[in-house]
Structure formats: C-alpha cells, structure tokens
C-alpha cells in the first residue's frame, strides 16, 4: 500500500459493488426500453429486449451470490455487521444536531446499503412475478407493476444521490478511490471517518 493511504474496501467488496452496478445499469437500460413508449417505438425488438431484461436479472442475482460465495466471506460478514449497527453517534449524524464523528461507514451509507439490498430483493420478487404472471394467472396481481415501477423511481433517487456524492461533491468524491483502487488517503479517512478503526 502507498504510504499515507489506508485500505478502504477489499477486492471482494469492490467486485461485488461493480457487479451490482453493472447489473443495475443493464437492467435499467433494457427496462427503460420496455417502459418508455418513445424508446419502444425507436428501438423495437421487444421480445429480445424482454429476454435481455429477464436473463439479465437472473444473471445479476446469480453473479452477486457467486461473488459473495467465492470471495472473502468473512470480510463481507464483518462489513455487513458494521453496516447493520447504528450507535448513538449515527443517530446524532442522521438528526444533524451536532457534529457526530463516524466510523468506517456513516449513517447515510448504512441506510443506502440497507435500502439498496432491499430494493434488489423487491426488484427480483416483483420481476419474477411479472414473468410468472404472464404465464399463470395465479401469479398475477394488479399491483405488481406498481411495485416494480415504484422501485425504479426510488432507486433512481438513491442512484442520483450516490453518484453526486461519489463523483461530484468535493468533500466526499475522494471516496470513489476506495471503491476503485481500494485505498483512501489517511487524512481523508481521519476527517470523514474518525472512529473508523483502520
């Protein structure tokens, strides 16, 4: 490791993140073609796009499971525990009443992780129901499409916020390095995550 830098994300964590990001973007692109009337007319090929969307979704989830199983499982579990636990400072951080020194993840990152994981599960469940409902009326619910669409809008809000903080916002964009190269500057870590036990 370069002097002055600390390890932020393991290779397993980074692969998991980018597999998740790639899966989301493939599903987003193919989903928008299926969803937006103007794109539906210009692109056409709905049967093929449907196949890409369906198998892309299956592949996405399988790839995530594979990375988790074949990678550093213990490290992932430790990270998951860190994201699960909210201490007093996290609650203060969310309320924005006073400066609240954060650990390896701040409370916003923890919430983002919990919501992202929940949305993935819900996308998968509602997507499978859309697929199965087309084939068997027992799986058909009038609200499946409302849920799948609602998830699209909710996850776009999360994604825009995530991209802004990771790419644009001057104070936080250094964190992108942690998800690409795996390390961040020690002084940056000290400032943003003072209670992170590096």
């Amino acid at each position: 490791m370069k002097p002055g830098y600390v390890k932020r994300f393991s290779r397993t964590e980074r692969v998991l993140h980018w597999v998740n990001a790639a899966g989301f973007l493939i599903l987003l692109a193919s989903g928008l073609i299926l969803y937006l009337p103007s794109l539906a007319a210009d692109v056409g090929r709905r049967p093929e796009i449907k196949d890409i969307h369906f198998w892309g979704g299956i592949g996405w989830v399988c790839a995530l499971v594979l990375v988790a199983l074949l990678g550093d499982r213990r490290g992932l579990l430790r990270t998951a525990r860190q994201m699960d636990g909210f201490d007093r400072e996290d609650i203060y951080w969310l309320r924005r009443r006073r400066p609240a020194p954060q650990g390896r993840f701040n409370a916003g990152q923890k919430l983002n992780a919990a919501l992202t994981a929940a949305f993935l599960v819900l996308f998968f469940v509602s997507g499978m129901l859309l697929w199965a409902g087309e084939r068997d009326t027992r799986f058909r619910f009038a609200s499946t499409v409302v849920l799948h669409d609602g998830l699209l809008y909710a996850s776009l809000v999360l994604l825009v916020g995530h991209l802004y903080l990771a790419v644009l916002h001057p104070a936080t964009r250094h964190s992108l390095r942690g998800m690409t190269l795996g390390t961040v500057r020690e002084d940056w870590a000290e400032e943003h995550h003072p209670r992170w036990d590096t």
């Binding site: 299926l34 969803y35 937006l36 009337p37 103007s38 539906a40 007319a41 056409g44 090929r45 709905r46 049967p47 093929e48 994201m83 699960d84 636990g85 909210f86 201490d87 007093r88 996290d90 923890k110 919430l111 992780a113 919990a114 919501l115 994981a117 929940a118 949305f119 599960v121 819900l122 469940v125 509602s126 129901l129 859309l130 409902g133 087309e134 084939r135 068997d136 009326t137 027992r138 058909r140 619910f141 009038a142 609200s143 499946t144 499409v145 409302v146 849920l147 609602g150 998830l151």
Partner: protein, 232 residues
C-alpha cells in the same frame, strides 16, 4: 490529576440496518395487496381528474409488442380488409375509412398486467358502420381482428362486438393515433383488457365463432372482462 480521557462505555450498536432492510422488503411485498388502489387514490388526490399520470414520462401507457419492429403506416397503400362470412369482401382505404360517420368517446383503458389509463379520448368509427359496408352473413358469430404486427390476432363474439362503446379508433387524445398505439387504426373495447384492443388493425374476418387469439393461445381468457377474468 484526574483522568480526563476516560471513555464513557459505549452501548451496543442497535441493529437498525437489518430493520430498515426487512421493513422495506416486507412493506414492498405487502404493497402487492394495496399498491394499485393507494397509487390511484394518491394520484387523483394530488392531481385532480388527470392525476399524477401526466407527470410520469409514459403518461401511464406501456407499449407491448410481440414482433421485432412496429408496423409502419403509409396512407397511400394502407387498406383495411373485411372478409370471411360477408356478402361482399372489401378493402377500405384510409380516406374511405375517414369518410365514414365519425364517433368520439372518452373511456378508460385497462391492461391485464395492472396498469390503467383513465379518460382517454378516442376518435374513430363505430364497428357496425364499417361492417355494414361488407354485409355480415347470418351465420357469422364472431369477428377476428388481424394485426399488421404478425402474428398478433384476437377475436370477439358478435354479441361482444355490439357493445355500444366498441369502436375502431384512428385518433387518440385529439391527434392521429401514434405509431406505438397502433397507427393508423386500432380496436377499442373498454370493457375488456388491452390485449383484446388489437393495434395496427389490418383486417377483420367474420367467422362462425370466436377463435383464440395470440394471448389466448398462451393461456389468457377468451372473454377478457375487466375485473372478471384472468385471475384478477
């Protein structure tokens, strides 16, 4: 000197992350039971009669097709063929179709996959005005609607086709029917789910009785009454 740096004992972190995760998953799955009615209520409460629908980029529509490309419309070559059990098989040009008595209606469009578009303004012709041109024979008991989008087809019984708000629409919301909605002509039967409302209509065949259409062959109900078919 007193020890100033004595750390206060930290209470165990609370497991809020998994709580947020589980609550979101449970809330989302339960929305399968309440999502659509709640969304319609919220939508009409916030936006008056039109609701939130115009704010959504799709205006509430979803475009479903079964072929790789949508049929294109050329007014010079387009024909509506009427055949089968009729006295006089015929082909209507676009101008001939437009010269028939005009019909207008506002009706709600329901898709079997769950979405609904309220208050769509359709302009076109009544089915019986078109059929009268060819003269159905007494033994005709059903109508087959053939789409230019192959192999899409669907059919109605003669009785169903006589419902007062069944029409062939060449206008939607004051404009010529857009390509993705079946330009230049589609069937509208508001009492039935969208898969009965054949787009890119190219031909109408009078048959002894209704035959299963594209989706019926894949297990959908022949009589696609809104709210009373397809397990909904």
């Amino acid at each position: 000197m007193p020890v100033v740096d004595q750390p206060t004992p930290e209470p165990q972190p609370r497991r809020i992350g998994r709580g947020v995760f589980l609550a979101t998953v449970v809330g989302g799955v339960s929305s399968l039971a309440w999502g659509k009615p709640v969304w319609s209520k919220v939508s009409s409460a916030l936006g008056g009669a039109e609701g939130l629908v115009p704010l959504v980029p799709t205006s509430g529509w979803r475009i479903y097709t079964v072929a790789d490309t949508m049929p294109t419309f050329d007014p010079k070559t387009w024909r509506l063929a009427i055949g089968g059990l009729v006295q006089q098989p015929m082909q209507l040009t676009y101008d001939e179709l437009r010269s028939l008595p005009r019909a207008d209606q506002v009706s709600t469009f329901h898709c079997v996959t769950g979405w609904t578009v309220t208050n769509v303004r359709w302009g076109g012709v009544r089915l019986h005005d078109v059929l009268a041109q060819a003269g159905p024979l007494p033994e005709a008991g059903g109508l087959e609607f053939v789409s230019a989008e192959r192999p899409y087809v669907d059919s109605l019984s003669l009785e169903q086709s006589k419902l007062s708000d069944v029409m062939l629409a060449y206008e939607m919301d004051g404009k010529p029917l857009p390509r993705e909605h079946g330009a230049p002509l589609r069937l509208i039967i508001p009492e039935m789910y969208g898969y009965k409302n054949v787009k890119w209509l190219a031909g109408i065949g009078l048959v002894p009785k209704p035959l299963p259409g594209y989706w019926e062959e894949l297990g959908y109900d022949q009589d696609a009454w809104v709210g009373r078919s397809n397990g909904l």
